[in-house]
């Protein structure tokens, strides 16, 4: 099979693994970009690109998982170890509201000192302040279930009762157990990750899915990941968006150099082509910087992510980019699209805060 046959397969309908492999490995970068953009415009014909105003709050950096790619985690008792207290949480939420933010991306390490009741109390607090809580990636859910002796379903139901609004797709890394054993052996397995998402969708929560690539996985394993989440989405329709980003090696223990922009854009484009049942594909300006983050809007992405009022995990690995809301809007418009603020569920929101200068 060659690239033109791959394109014909795509035009006939669903992309199977073999044509996906041929396109991913052999098509030119710009051909992938054009195909991805055509697919994006079929899903979302309006030339609208969405963005969110939210704050990333990491409730603790204490983590027993010790993944090789992570520069954020600290062991218990480490001088830099922290757990966020309620007073600080309230202040961060107030600042978010003042900037027109609507949601909190709430995640943290696997910290044995924090029980489910503590987490429930924090969620109630954010919810009472009127914020949508997009929180607890699948490894955190699995960890809380193990700690509390409850099932994952029971943990999710209690968090939902406390006000959890949706679940972020983090901790997926690459959904291939060979890779996970090498880079994150203690964390949730591929099946556990998928099961958390299946359960969340079953109780009516929406979630995102992610992939952190560019470490020990092969190109074929990246595609395997895409087909796995596509199959689950066929079943549940609970994923709102897919967000791939490359592993950032500075200050972590895994070897290697970061994937470049062409590797990123190719993967982004092929994600749009394979994930024909995902409404949104998100660009990662946090890892790519504003230039390539914006360019990604022409390689299949229709969402520029969020302003990330506070981002600690990628910054801990030595990458730091800042974008104000007005700058996000400018990037979207300069790329030829209309900008629209959204919430976590990808619904439009009336902007409340003043756009910072």
């Amino acid at each position: 099979m060659d690239v033109s046959e791959g394109i014909r397969c795509l035009e006939r309908g669903r992309l199977d693994p073999e044509p996906a492999r041929v396109l991913y490995e052999e098509a030119d970068l710009l051909t992938l970009g054009q195909l991805a953009q055509e697919a994006r415009l079929r899903w979302n014909h309006d030339p609208v690109v969405t963005y969110a105003v939210d704050r990333n709050i990491n409730y603790t950096n204490v983590c027993v998982s010790r993944c090789g790619f992570c520069a954020f985690a600290r062991p218990e008792g480490h001088p830099e170890a922290y757990v966020l207290d309620q007073e600080t949480l309230v202040r961060k939420c107030e600042e978010t509201l003042a900037l027109g933010g609507t949601q909190i991306l709430y995640q943290g390490g696997l910290n044995p000192a924090l029980g489910l009741d503590w987490h429930l109390e924090q969620v109630r607090l954010m919810r009472r302040m009127g914020l949508h809580v997009h929180g607890f990636s699948p490894p955190e859910m699995v960890f809380m279930a193990g700690q509390s002796g409850l099932t994952v379903r029971e943990v999710i139901e209690r968090l939902v009762a406390a006000g959890l609004g949706s679940i972020p797709g983090g901790g997926a890394e690459v959904l291939v157990d060979r890779v996970r054993r090498a880079v994150s052996p203690i964390k949730a397995t591929k099946d556990e990750w998928l099961e958390v998402m299946r359960t969340a969708h079953a109780v009516g929560l929406k979630t995102t899915a992610t992939m952190m690539f560019g470490h020990l996985e092969t190109p074929a394993e990246r595609l395997e990941h895409l087909f796995l989440v596509r199959r689950l989405q066929d079943e549940t329709r609970g994923f709102t968006a897919f967000i791939p980003w490359p592993y950032q090696p500075a200050k972590t223990t895994l070897p290697g150099r970061p994937a470049g922009s062409t590797t990123y854009l190719r993967l982004l484009a092929v994600s749009r082509l394979v994930l024909d049942n995902f409404p949104h594909i998100q660009a990662s300006w946090v890892t790519q910087g504003p230039h390539i983050g914006q360019v990604a809007l022409h390689f299949g992405a229709d969402d520029l992510g969020s302003t990330m009022i506070e981002e600690n995990v990628v910054a801990a690995a030595g990458v730091s980019h800042r974008l104000s809301r007005s700058e996000m809007i400018r990037l979207i418009e300069a790329a030829g699209f209309r900008a629209r603020q959204r919430n976590t569920l990808y619904e439009p929101v009336e902007s409340q805060g003043e756009a910072p200068p």
Partner: protein
């Protein structure tokens, strides 16, 4: 050495043309395939197209006709010999007035020492530019070239923008021609393309009224070309110029090349606002930068090389630009100051290995070159 040849005939697969979403780009593609030239209105249509990948496909097809999948780079060292400058251009964060505490000027010996100690092993070129420093006279400029050549006899000297040439000729009471003849005798073989900014009197009046305008810049380059000195050309974009003014600039370069033929490469320089008098402007976005590079490739059908200058673009955007018509990543550079003073967050230098990795990852074939874009045996290839 002078390469004025036009692009070979473009063969565009109909599949590529059919896939262009923007009808204006399809029209331009058909015209190029028929041997036509991009006219001003069409250049503006390229800059304003919302089909970024489609525009890139056209520029890449033109680039491939000349260079296939090759992408060039050079082991070079940039040296900014002085930051003292009386021109006061509003877009510049590098210059200091005479007498300023952080103003500097390197003696020829100091410049030579830096080049002698350059970490670049197989150094092939020294790129030498600086401010228009009233304290430095023409003999200083000649000494600077000679001292560097004594320190590294094999290197090629690409030195002095047309702005600096105009200033030294005036001070020495020489014609541009005489000035360039003497510089050539002292070892200058090529000139960088800086100081062109935007060929628009409207913009010159507003941003750089004390500096030479388009006519003088072009005439100095034409003089250099007649002396066998190859030169580059630049465009500083993304500040107050209009798309039409950008394209007009490219067309004037194309016309000059038709006449004098010595332009080797074109470099689109995105404006960096930090620490300049225009710091309230945002600077061009990634999409705009890629469209400008692609449009330059399409308009400049008689200038062989289009650079993705990674210092200004960042390594990520420069790598992607290799798919948008650029064929050259410039070089190792080592210590660039002008863009960095204006807030460029890029590295100060890249190693040959890093440049090779960037090019290979982009799916291109790295070719180490000399100042004249001739392939050289690369240090990285000797394994």
């Amino acid at each position: 050495m002078m390469s004025t040849t036009k692009n070979p005939r473009l063969a565009l697969p109909s599949l590529l043309l059919d896939r262009l979403r923007d009808p204006a780009l399809r029209e331009i593609g058909r015209k190029l395939a028929g041997g036509g030239q991009v006219e001003p209105g069409e250049g503006v249509a390229c800059l304003e197209s919302t089909d970024l990948c489609g525009l890139g496909q056209l520029a890449l097809a033109v680039k491939r006709v000349r260079f296939g999948d090759r992408a060039f780079f050079i082991a070079n060292h940039h040296l900014n010999y002085t930051n003292i400058c009386g021109n006061g251009c509003r877009f510049c964060a590098f210059h200091r007035p005479a007498g300023s505490a952080d103003g500097y000027a390197m003696s020829p010996d100091e410049a030579a020492r830096r080049i002698a100690e350059s970490p670049v092993a197989d150094l092939r070129e020294v790129h030498l530019v600086g401010g228009c420093n009233p304290e430095l006279d023409f003999p200083y400029c000649l000494d600077l070239l000679r001292a560097i050549l004594r320190a590294r006899p094999g290197v090629k000297l690409k030195a002095f923008t047309a702005v600096e040439i105009a200033q030294m000729a005036k001070k020495a009471g020489l014609s541009h021609h005489e000035c360039l003849v003497r510089l050539k005798e002292a070892g200058l073989v090529a000139m960088p393309g800086g100081g062109a900014e935007v060929f628009s009197e409207r913009i010159r009046q507003r941003l750089f009224p004390h500096k030479i305008g388009a006519d003088e810049w072009l005439s100095i380059h034409a003089t250099a070309h007649r002396l066998g000195i190859t030169t580059n050309a630049t465009l500083l974009f993304g500040h107050i110029e209009t798309p039409a003014e950008r394209v007009e600039h490219l067309i004037r370069l194309r016309e000059q090349q038709e006449e004098s033929g010595g332009f080797q490469a074109f470099i689109a320089l995105p404006f960096h606002p930090a620490n300049t008098l225009l710091r309230d402007l945002p600077g061009p976005t990634g999409v705009d930068i890629l469209k400008t590079i692609a449009t330059a490739r399409l308009v400049l059908d008689n200038i062989p090389h289009i650079k993705a200058y990674w210092v200004m673009l960042g390594a990520k955007l420069a790598q992607t630009a290799l798919h948008f018509g650029a064929d050259d990543l410039e070089g190792t550079i080592v210590r660039e100051r002008i863009a960095h003073e204006a807030g460029a967050h890029t590295e100060a230098g890249l190693t040959v290995e890093q440049l090779v990795d960037l090019i290979r990852e982009a799916g291109c074939e790295p070719v180490e070159r000399d100042t004249f874009h001739r392939p050289v045996e690369s240090s990285h290839g000797r394994e």
